[in-house]
Amino acid sequence: MTGWLDYAIADFVPFSAEAYWRLIENYSREVWPLHLAAFALGAVAIFLTVRPFPWSGRAVACLLAVVWAWVGWRFVGTEYAALNWAGEGFMWAFMVQAALLLVFGVIGGGLGLGAPGPARRIDLGLAVAAVALYPMVAMVSGRPVAGAEVFGIHPDPTALATLGLAALAPHGLTAMALSIIPLAWVAVSALTLIALGAPEAWVLIAALALALGGLLLRRPARV
């Protein structure tokens, strides 16, 4: 297709902020109370990362794979794709991420706690914030409780938590491979929110900077 460079960011956001936030709220009402289970899964993933058992790395990767497949199918492919012609492509990206988590996280070396140091603190902090604090962004922004975005239900906190946990993987290749799609999604989502004039974009941009910092500062863990 010719002429892609003629487009601006806003040209790829064919919906209003009102339609987008209402989509999130309506979807949240439809799938409630799965939020509670998703929050619990997030908490379990962080617990298993911090207090690992021999099988924890693979379990966390498997859990994240299920979450990415679910969010990709249920939200991105079914709900979001109604507003954005690119939604189906994004859904497949989520499925690829689920597959990567299985390949690198379960069949490969699995995830882990990373080496002690600033990178580990950043990555763990990012994962905890994505699971525990991100739902409050909606309320702080003046949106209703139904607009709260939750790990395992909505894509943004799911991607942020994954960035934190993936960056802790003992092997650098695993960390990088599992970070590419979440990084891309957070960047796309931040640009979308900028185009919509939503201040929540700055939360994503700050988180993106943290995630990149965590990846750059990482040191190989003792396996």
Binding site: T2, D6, S16, A19, R22, E79, A82, W85
Partner: protein, 298 residues
């Protein structure tokens, strides 16, 4: 019956500074056939892309209903606009597909997917066929334009056109206009984006092509920025009560323009936009003054 010619003749005799009518009932002829269509249509970029939200779908249907209460005309959409086509189809179905509909959509995909996309678009609208199909932003136009021309020859669409927006690819656009017998061209024109007045609008007139104007408000930005600016004295002379109406009259006053397609989510704005096609229009001098006043106020 008062005609445009009568009014122009009368005004020339009186040597008054301003007056030019769009037509006594706000219609304009399509040059290639002479068929008259309402000078105010309805765009759908963003405003009708509301997914399956029942509240926003109801609001969109109310906008479409008001549009037809005010005379109807062209509704324009695109496969690029998310769920807009389905929302339009939903709104039209609720009204029983009014006869005053002039359905306009676009093809926006790779060459090989053109037929499938046009058929999907038709199903989304729920119409038997479109009045107008356009090549969106010249995407794969070398394949799509012959396809649309074949459809027109076969009676599967009544009119064929091309579109651009935001001032993109005007040189290519001009070349296609010169080389192909188009019924419609769709371009961006408003009081601050006037590039097409230099070459493309005169060319459309010379080639007998109808002109659809998109982004008349710069996606709502112009009325928003003019919200607190007082309407100048000329507003009363051309019968406008808001900046939005002045912005529309600025567009319709250009003799090459056939239809403007403002998009909105509000019923009162549909009625306000429709009313702007009626009554006196600014002459060339006042058009320039409107543009200057808008530029100064934003």
């Amino acid at each position: 019956m008062i005609t445009r010619r009568h009014i122009l003749g009368g005004l020339a005799g009186m040597a008054l500074p301003i007056r030019l009518r769009a037509g006594e009932d706000g219609h304009r002829p399509i040059p290639s056939t002479g068929e008259a269509i309402p000078a105010i249509g309805l765009g759908s970029w963003i405003t009708f892309n509301v997914g399956n939200d029942p509240v926003l779908r109801g609001r969109s249907a109310a906008v479409i209903a008001a549009f037809f209460e005010e005379g109807g005309g062209m509704i324009d959409s695109s496969p690029m606009y998310g769920s807009s086509q389905e929302v339009i189809g939903d709104g039209l179905a609720r009204l029983g597909y009014p006869a005053a509909l002039f359905s306009a959509d676009k093809v926006w995909t790779r060459a090989v997917d053109g037929d499938a996309q046009i058929e999907a678009t038709r199903r989304n609208w729920g119409v038997e066929q479109f009045d107008l199909l356009q090549v969106h932003n010249l995407v794969a136009w070398r394949s799509h334009l012959p396809r649309l021309s074949e459809m027109k020859a076969a009676g599967l669409v009544r009119y064929v056109g091309i579109t651009t927006s935001h001032g993109r690819r005007h040189r290519d656009f001009e070349a296609v206009m010169k080389a192909h017998p188009l019924d419609f061209v769709q371009l961006t024109l408003n009081a601050v984006d006037r590039e097409i007045e230099t070459r493309l609008l005169p060319l459309a007139r010379d080639r007998g092509m109808a002109v659809i104007v998109n982004r008349p408000f710069r996606r709502g930005a112009l009325p928003e920025r003019l919200r607190n600016a007082p309407l100048p004295g000329w507003a009363a002379e051309i019968g406008v009560t808001s900046w939005a109406q002045a912005l529309i009259k600025f567009i319709l006053a250009h003799p090459a323009v056939t239809v403007a397609i403002p998009a909105t989510t509000r019923v009162d704005h549909v009625r306000e936009n429709k009313a702007a096609a009626l009554g006196p229009m600014p002459d060339a001098a006042l058009r320039e003054r409107i543009a200057r006043d808008v530029d100064r106020a934003i």
